[in-house]
Amino acid sequence: MTSAARSATLGIVTEPNHSWDKAKLIAIIDELKHRPGPLLVILRRIQDELGWVPADAVPLIASELRLSRAEVHGVISFYHDFKHAPLGLNIIKLCRAESCQAMGAVALADHLKSRLGIDFGQTTSDHNFTLEAVYCLGNCACSPAAVVNGELIGRATADRLDQAISELERICR
């Protein structure tokens, strides 16, 4: 089964051009496979370095760790951080948890969804933005909280996030 076919069975709509470096993947597995309980450490590193975990990594990891492919796939699918396809160029995360809701996160979420034209967990068709829901960033004293490309924003407002998005749109153009 090809990578694209596999992605299709997972219900993921992906762009065909998902290049990743097999040598890099093997190097990561080789470096970490002797650690105690290495699977999550390996997947974490792959996710951090590639930005996603390619389906074709599954058999490689499985054979090196002497696990079944089902076991490896099961771990990947369990954790929210592991992505089956590359995300957009820019990633915006918005906290949906209680403290942020108390400070207007629901309205902020509606605003972001309409501003970007996508729902949580989706990527814009130009692949410029991915919007993700998160459940607590530990920034509850400065709710509502958002993360724009890794930068934590406290007391987030629609204006502030619009400004960040406009800036990123300019760069993408």
Binding site: A102, M103, C136, C140, S143, G154
Partner: protein, 515 residues
């Protein structure tokens, strides 16, 4: 003489612009040719004043805040580096009333020290607990922890000394010390603050645990949402290794203790201790049935101390000053102090470390100053997403484990989220079940399926379909989840739902009943 200025590196302070303030101070000082030493400290936890900048003066530290980059030139013109008067001046930091009234034991150094400097840690009383522990037998260390009355600060409130005793009594080797730093509860941030602001205290606490029970390896399971804490803890581990406080021969005792941070991958359930163990072992974070107790059959099937960040970070002061010193704080069976976290719609959000027994009302009004929106408080959720919603009329409850449990709630990890009168408790109840459905590990049917069905039932109630019958069904389903789930997620998620139904029936379109 060079001036010393403190700008927090705490991620919440940075989320409010602390990084830009630090750059502005550095640039402005260079322009004015001022000799400046900048220390990036943790946060004092007074978040409505962040970014809060402090300067060292002969009479102690003086605070200014909240500072924006635009204020920096004016602050320098007002000689703030020597404590000069300015409209942002908060006076001597130690005299800020809401800080002065706290009882900071676990957070004694947070916001004060350079988090990643071993020298600074030592200069502020660091490693005195370990020094004393190294003169004691393992059993004597455990006795001291038992005598302190310390209970698990992660939420379960299990006596720490009893856990440690169980691990001590096992002969199997190796043993592990595992720190649960998967702080996923909304409204909580004390673990993050401690790890970013004073990571050596956590490392010292874990090392004392290892010495006590004969463990040689430790893991900190840290959630991926905390990249700044990861950096701070890793830097501190490197510092402790260089200083001989971690490694093959801890302080020349001949005892080895190796410590590693493992980063999670986004799963709320991994804050449950057995799911965390599975995750550390590289598996799906599925909850394990107990027994076997994790203390006996824990990480990789070996005896393991498993404690929350705050529990472990409270160990150094207990060993340094004795269990009785710690036990003298608190009330009833809740001994010592607890870092309470005020969040949500609150005027003065932040961290308040107090002895157990302070009331919700005192905490929310005296410390928190009421809502940020200025509207009346309608509901308060104590104890994170699995905690009950209480109406304003119940805020006189004293905060300790037993009192909240007796009222159908829980203290959990000490998070308090405040809502004003615009909150819709039916929506909050729906969110609780939706969250459970998203985060359930799937092991138990009541949690896996029940949470989805409960979301649908609440939707039906909100839509006005058979409200009374659906409410009865929802209560029944909550009963099943409470009784039929292995762990706290499925077992406690009914708390916010049933408390919302009980205290705020009008939000569900149900008649008010006298309680």
């Amino acid at each position: 003489m060079s001036a010393t200025v403190y700008v927090p590196r705490d991620s919440s302070a940075v989320s409010l612009g602390a990084e830009a303030v630090a750059s502005a101070i550095t640039a402005e000082a260079r322009r004015c040719q001022l000799d400046l030493r900048m220390i990036r400290n943790g946060s004092r936890g007074l978040y409505w004043l962040e970014p809060m900048v402090e300067v060292a003066t002969p009479n102690g530290r003086v605070a200014y805040g909240p500072v924006t980059p635009a204020d920096v030139a004016g602050l320098l013109a007002a000689n703030f580096l020597t404590g000069g008067a300015h409209r942002l001046s908060l006076g001597p930091t130690d005299a800020i009333p809401l800080l002065q009234r706290q009882e900071r034991l676990t957070f004694a150094r947070v916001g004060i020290v350079d988090p990643v400097s071993l020298d600074d840690y030592m200069a502020h009383g660091g490693y005195r607990g370990l020094a004393r522990a190294l003169t004691l037998s393992g059993a004597a260390i455990v006795d001291e922890v038992t005598a302190s009355g310390l209970r698990g600060r992660g939420g379960a409130g299990f006596p720490t000394g009893i856990k440690w005793k169980t691990v001590l009594d096992q002969s199997s080797q190796p043993k592990y010390v595992v720190c649960n730093a998967d702080e996923g509860d909304s409204g909580t941030f004390s673990d993050r603050m401690l790890m970013e602001g004073d990571p050596f205290t956590l490392i010292e606490g874990m090392t004392i645990g290892a010495i006590a029970v004969g463990a040689t390896e430790g893991y900190i399971y840290l959630r991926s949402e905390y990249p700044d804490a990861l950096r701070a803890v890793n830097d501190a581990i490197t510092g402790a290794e260089k200083g001989g406080y971690l490694g093959p021969d801890v302080c020349g005792s001949g005892k080895a203790f190796r410590l590693e941070v493992r980063v999670g991958a986004g799963a709320y359930i991994c804050g449950e201790e057995t799911a965390m163990l599975e995750s550390l072992e590289g598996k799906r974070g599925m909850v394990r049935a107990k027994p076997p107790l994790p203390a006996i059959t824990g990480l990789f099937g070996q005896p393991s101390i498993i404690n929350n960040v705050i529990s472990l970070a409270s160990i150094p002061i207990i060993l340094e000053k004795g269990g009785q010193f710690y036990k003298d704080f608190g009330m009833g069976r809740s001994r010592g102090t607890i870092p309470l976290q005020l969040a949500g719609n609150i005027k003065r959000p932040g961290l308040i470390e107090k002895a157990f027994g302070i009331s919700l009302r005192e905490l929310i009004y005296d410390y928190g100053g009421g809502t940020a929106s200025g509207r009346p408080i309608r509901a308060v959720q104590a104890g994170g997403p699995l905690g009950a919603f209480f109406p304003e009329s119940m805020l006189d409850l004293p905060l300790d484990y037993e009192t909240l449990a007796a009222k159908g709630g829980m203290l959990g990890h000490g998070g308090i989220v405040v809502f004003d009168d615009t909150v819709d408790l039916a929506r909050m109840a729906r969110y609780a079940m939706e969250f459970c459905a998203i985060e359930s590990c799937g092991k138990c049917t009541p949690c896996r399926i029940g949470s989805t069905r409960a979301t649908e039932i609440i939707d039906a109630i909100i839509a006005g379909r058979d409200r009374e019958a659906n409410a009865a069904l929802l209560r029944d389903l909550c009963d099943t989840m409470t009784a039929g789930s292995l762990c706290a997620l499925g077992g406690l998620i009914p708390l916010p739902v049933t408390s919302a139904l009980k205290y705020f029936p009008e939000d569900f379109g149900l008649p008010k009943v006298s309680t």
